[in-house]
């Protein structure tokens, strides 16, 4: 049993040094493989992060009631009491026009903005949290609230969130599609590399087979070669996505700040990284298995 592991360890390390010994050819291969992996991975990251954000968005739908500029305290009180008694409203918050202006100053670092303006251009507003998240009911509520006296508009971002959600869904399907295609490409690429290697070592394989090597003995170095290729390609692809995240995140955060949102790309977590490595190794070995199987069948006695 110890011997068995020793043999496997030997095969694995031989295959690894073989990869290292032909740096240019294997590097080219690795680049191909890791790009094939990095593309769907990056898309996956984007989708995942977007989905996270969209999830946060739609989990707390809000309707903002902007009052007419001419609304008086009495009007505000009327709306206030309507909202308080409304069964489909979970909570609400009043933002006076003075408060809104101050918020805006703080948020955008525009202190002194108010001094520069002749009059406050912002309306009073109620920010309403509905008791429901069902899109249709939300729409009804929005219509009803916009009909209240002295309410200018009832703004609700449902349609926008819904559209965004749809886009994320589409992107996710695209990711699955791309991952499938590139997974197949990964199999084909390793199939081809291993086929080339088999051709280069054809004599060795034939002689080994003639003097008693089993198919698994002959296959082993090629499977390990594919295994290492898959693992290395996955690690490189992971590195590429980390690079993408590090590079894109500051820009994304800055951009999202303009809309007062917290959005950023989320890196792969440990289980995801392991899954990617495992999957890449498996697909590569599958491609190698196909290539060796095909060749070994030709060596069978007739």
């Amino acid at each position: 049993m110890k011997h068995f592991f020793y043999l496997h360890w030997q095969s694995a390390s031989n295959a690894f040094t073989r990869i290292l010994r032909q740096p240019f050819g294997s590097l080219l291969n690795l680049v191909m493989l890791s790009v094939a992996l990095a593309l769907p991975l990056s898309l996956y990251l984007c989708v995942n992060s977007l989905q996270d954000w969209v999830g946060r968005l739609s989990a707390t739908p809000q309707i903002t009631l902007f009052m007419e500029m001419s609304a008086e305290d009495a009007d505000l009180a009327a709306v206030n009491s309507t909202l308080r008694k409304h069964p489909r409203i979970k909570g609400y918050r009043f933002v006076s026009r003075q408060q809104a202006l101050k918020d805006m100053e703080n948020r955008n670092g525009l202190s002194g903005l108010a001094d520069g303006l002749e009059s406050n251009p912002l309306p009073d507003a109620f920010i309403v949290t509905p008791a429901t998240i069902e899109p249709h009911e939300l729409e009804m509520l929005q219509k009803e609230l916009s009909g209240l006296p002295m309410v200018e508009t009832a703004q609700f971002d449902a349609s926008w969130a819904k559209r965004l959600y749809g886009m994320v869904d589409l992107a996710r399907k695209l990711t699955v599609f791309l991952a499938t295609i590139l997974g197949i490409a990964l199999i084909l690429i390793t199939h081809n590399t291993i086929r080339m290697q088999i051709l280069a070592r054809r004599d060795e394989i034939e002689v080994a087979k003639l003097i008693g090597a089993t198919d698994s003995f002959i296959r082993r170095p090629f499977l390990y070669h594919a295994f290492w290729q898959g693992v290395l390609a996955a690690l490189i692809a992971w590195g590429l996505t980390c690079w993408l995240v590090a590079m894109a995140n500051p820009a994304i955060t800055e951009f999202a700040m303009l809309y007062n949102e917290r959005v950023n790309l989320i890196s792969l977590n440990a289980p995801e990284v392991l899954a990617v490595i495992g999957l890449a190794a498996f697909l590569a070995m599958f491609g190698a298995r196909l290539a060796t199987g095909h060749h070994l069948r030709q060596l069978e006695p007739r």
């Binding site: 034939e206 003097i211 007739r302």
Partner: protein, 217 residues
């Protein structure tokens, strides 16, 4: 040990290399196989090693019917056979030493003991001083001896040698015969083919004579 029962081998293209052959070789026997070029000597040896399959009839090695064995089982049968190929089948991308190491790697022999075995085998064929050389730098006869060292290094129970002395001068040919004899003496079954019978007759062993795929009377 080896038993042929009405064995016919027809190659693709209709060429009948062996015709309805029946014979047996006992365990521990040393037998010569004689016949002119094209008589079917190599074909017979390949059938024993499971490199070719019989078209009809059965080939039994160690009481196992080779035509009924799966590929992996055939491999294990071959691991107990030492083969000297007529066309050597030496690997030219590795040293003499590594060529002889191959059978030991295949049976999973411990690497440290393996090196000793390899040197012992090379010593027996007089190639010990050339273990680090690449095979292209060996003469024809030396390559043949390399092939013999590879065939015996894992101490097979059956030794099949296809014209092992074809490229050797008489002195080396006799040495090689002595080597095979010593294998026979420790219990191995040995089958040696040659088209030159003079060497065989000195040994007084059974000779199977083939002519066009049949026994020559």
């Amino acid at each position: 040990m080896i038993q042929f029962d009405q064995v016919t081998k027809r190659y693709p293209g209709g060429n009948e290399a062996l015709k309805n052959l029946s014979f047996s070789i006992e365990s521990g026997e040393m037998v010569f196989l004689a016949g002119h070029s094209g008589a079917g000597k190599s074909t017979l040896l390949k059938l024993i090693a499971g490199i070719e399959r019989a078209t009809s009839g059965s080939v039994l090695v160690n009481n196992q019917n080779l035509s009924k064995l799966r590929s992996s089982q055939l491999s294990f049968v071959r691991q107990h056979i030492g083969l000297v190929f007529q066309d050597h089948k030496i690997l030219y991308d590795r040293t003499v030493f590594d060529n002889v190491m191959l059978p030991l790697d295949i049976i999973g022999f411990d690497r440290r003991d393996a090196a000793k075995r390899v040197r012992a085998a090379l010593d027996k064929v007089g190639l010990l001083g050339k273990e680090k050389m690449m095979p292209v730098r060996l003469s024809g006869g030396e390559q043949q001896r390399l092939c013999i060292a590879r065939a015996v290094v894992h101490r097979p129970t059956i030794l099949l040698a296809d014209e092992p002395s074809a490229n050797l001068d008489r002195a080396y040919a006799l040495d090689i015969m002595e080597l095979f004899k010593s294998f026979h003496q420790v219990g191995a079954t040995v089958l040696i083919s040659a088209h030159d019978e003079t060497l065989m007759e000195d040994y007084g062993r059974r000779i199977i004579r083939l002519r066009e795929g049949q026994f020559a009377s």
